[in-house]
């Protein structure tokens, strides 16, 4: 992990070997970060969605069209979930 090895130059990603031209490097870097952002979004958005669903009331979960943020923030799901999982005769 620590000793990262230099890979073949891929659009301004490596520091050790700068590409010959200046201009494509800026374009390349931008494209690079767009891809990085896309990967992050694909991985993280479902998880954020899970959290916002947890903050919605039971009916608001099935709103059409669904809203990204809950209209009323409901914390009872977390409290009830915890209580139900710790009580002895659950389910």
């Amino acid at each position: 992990m620590t000793a990262l090895q230099t890979e073949p130059t891929l659009a301004g990603a490596t520091q050790s070997v700068p590409p010959a031209k200046k201009k494509p490097r800026l374009v390349g870097t931008t494209a690079w970060y767009v891809v990085a952002l896309f990967i992050c979004a694909v991985m993280v958005v479902p998880l954020l969605w899970m959290i916002t669903i947890g903050l919605k009331s039971r009916t608001a979960v099935f709103d059409i069209p669904p809203k990204l943020l809950p209209h009323e923030w409901t914390w009872s799901n977390f409290i009830n979930g915890r209580r139900r999982s710790t009580s002895r005769n659950c389910c």
Partner: protein, 318 residues
């Protein structure tokens, strides 16, 4: 075997000589040390394996004693069971869809995360995040996201003016959707490829750069051959895992619509542990397990047999 040699033959011979000198006196101690593992294997793997083979030849409901029926279960499986061939077809479809995509995406992600740029650690961590989360929770979440009416994905597609889909509820889109959910956990494949990429000697890349090789020829002539043993490992691991897929179809679709996502494991589970009111058919389920087992062994044996055609073996590495 290969023309590339790093003078490894002499080191190999020397180390082999050392091994044989000490081997005789250490044999007893070695057996003692491996005894716990071997006993554990016999009790928890060996016995259940033999027991399930016996049960495959019987009619057994889990309560009364098993009744021996010979190959009756297998005859029923291949000739009269209407669910078996669709299950096999669904399993094959899943494997053919999932394994290549998982390898290509995993390798692409690993190559991306093997570069040096600010924030690469964040991308790596986030890409691996789905793997460490509890599977049932994330799969249930995806069931919500893929819902045609209230799901997040269709909402986003609709806002962007793109066509929406029935996802899990369409007969032809259900299996690709299941595979899509499985591919969300591609970080597991990525992390192994990342380790393989970082083990490729830097000299080779430097030499290629001196020789003026472009990025594509560097990838196909250096990177890919050097990591080919790991690619083989991944092919075997992913195929085995894909043939045994259970969580995703069970939670997302429970086999539907129709038989479109009823994979072999799901059908085995339903025969062995059916819904309340139906009699468990543990003998029949065991027979199905053995058919799946033989399929997996056959696939791995074929992969391993033809692996020497496309994997690079380094004579110094063992």
């Amino acid at each position: 075997m290969n023309s590339v040699s790093f003078g490894g033959s002499t080191t190999k011979r020397r180390s082999r000589g050392g091994m044989s000198r000490n081997a005789g006196s250490d044999v007893k101690a070695a057996y003692l040390f491996i005894a716990p593992a071997v006993i554990g294997f016999l009790v928890f793997v060996g016995y259940p394996l033999i027991r399930s083979f016996y049960l495959a030849l019987t009619k057994y409901n889990g309560l009364t004693d098993p009744v021996f029926v010979g190959l009756g279960n297998f005859r029923r499986l291949f000739t009269t069971d209407p669910a078996f061939w669709p299950a096999l077809r669904a399993t094959g479809y899943l494997v053919l869809l999932y394994v290549p995509l998982s390898l290509v995406l995993g390798l692409a992600l690993a190559m991306f995360c093997n570069q040096r740029f600010a924030g690469v650690r964040i991308v790596r961590t986030l890409a691996y995040l789905p793997v460490v989360l509890p599977a049932v929770a994330t799969i249930t979440l995806w069931k919500f996201i893929l819902d045609p009416q209230v799901g997040l994905l269709n909402t986003i597609l609709d806002r962007l003016g793109l066509p929406t889909s029935l996802w899990l509820q369409g007969p032809s889109t259900s299996m690709p959707s299941v595979v899509m959910v499985m591919l969300w956990g591609v970080g597991g494949t990525m992390i192994i490829f990342l380790a393989a990429l970082q083990a490729v000697p830097t000299e080779l890349y430097e030499a290629a750069r001196v020789d003026g090789a472009g990025p594509w020829s560097v990838f196909f002539r250096i990177t890919l051959p050097m990591i080919s043993p790991i690619v083989l490992l991944q092919v075997i691991l992913q195929t085995t895992a894909a043939l045994q897929t259970f969580n995703q179809p069970k939670i997302l679709t429970n086999g539907g619509p129709g038989f479109s996502t009823k994979v072999l494991m799901l059908s085995i589970y339903e025969n062995g542990f059916p819904t309340l009111g139906r009699i468990p058919q543990l003998g029949y389920a065991s027979a199905q397990v053995w058919v799946l087992f033989i399929i997996i062994i056959a696939v791995i044996a074929l992969t391993a047999k033809f692996s020497s055609l496309w994997t690079y073996s380094d004579s110094t590495s063992d």
